[in-house]
């Protein structure tokens, strides 16, 4: 595709439910980032992959959050036992090489009720 694609665009989850958010980066992009953007705030870094290797997961808020990129392309962010404070827009970004421009997807808006 032409850009970073995220699915679903919108997700409503009941508290305690597990969710999986998908990111399809631009083909061939080495770097992949996940960010969390709460309402009215700037995005906050969650985790970083270089190909299939998760090199930085310092931003994951708890052990309920897990991300993977097993083949170095598509990535999934999984949130277990969702809580209301997990409600946010989850943004994925990819870049061709390590220090090149990051292109962002439109995000997945997660609402936990």
């Amino acid at each position: 595709g032409a850009g970073v694609s995220q699915s679903p665009r919108y997700k409503v989850a009941k508290r305690g439910q597990d969710v999986a958010l998908r990111c399809d980066p631009i083909s061939g992009h080495v770097s992949l980032f996940w960010y969390q953007q709460a309402l009215g705030q700037g995005p906050e870094f969650l985790t970083y992959f270089q190909n299939e290797a998760q090199l930085d997961k310092s931003g994951l808020p708890s052990d309920r959050f897990f991300a993977e990129r097993p083949e170095g392309s598509v990535s999934t962010l999984k949130i277990q036992r969702t809580q209301q404070e997990d409600s946010a827009v989850y943004l994925c970004a990819s870049s061709l090489e390590v220090n090149t421009e990051a292109f962002f997807g439109q995000g997945t808006r997660l609402t936990v009720v």
Binding site: V4, F33, Q41, G42, F45, Q50, L55, N99, F104
Partner: protein, 113 residues
């Protein structure tokens, strides 16, 4: 550690007048610095990037920013606002050496006829 402060949460200007969006960062060294724009229901788009070359950086859509190390500032300007410039703007220094971005809280720009 990197941190960033966007000094105004909201800025309102009239169409055709200059725009100034302020950003200060703290760091023990000169980082790479970015400005991103976020239109409603769209992904973040890179406006411009500073990487220790020229201190005055020109970006897309007539925006530019000047890096001032003595003031640890990287303010975004545009000589003449257009209605289409109405959006949320984020300043973001880089951290970690792989374009991990530390976003500010954002400045919402409103442009009035």
């Amino acid at each position: 550690a990197q941190s960033v402060t966007q000094l105004d949460s909201h800025v309102s200007v009239s169409e055709g007048t200059p725009v100034l969006l302020r950003c200060n960062y703290s760091s023990s060294y000169s980082p790479s610095l970015f400005w991103y724009v976020q239109h409603p229901n769209k992904g973040l788009q890179l406006l411009l990037k500073y990487t220790s070359a020229a201190t005055l950086v020109k970006g897309i859509n007539g925006f530019e920013a000047e890096f001032k190390k003595s003031e640890t500032s990287f303010h975004l300007t545009k000589p003449s606002a257009h209605m289409s410039d109405a959006a949320e703007y984020f300043c973001a220094p880089e951290s970690g050496g792989y374009n991990k971005l530390i976003f500010g809280a954002g400045t919402r720009l409103a442009v009035h006829p």
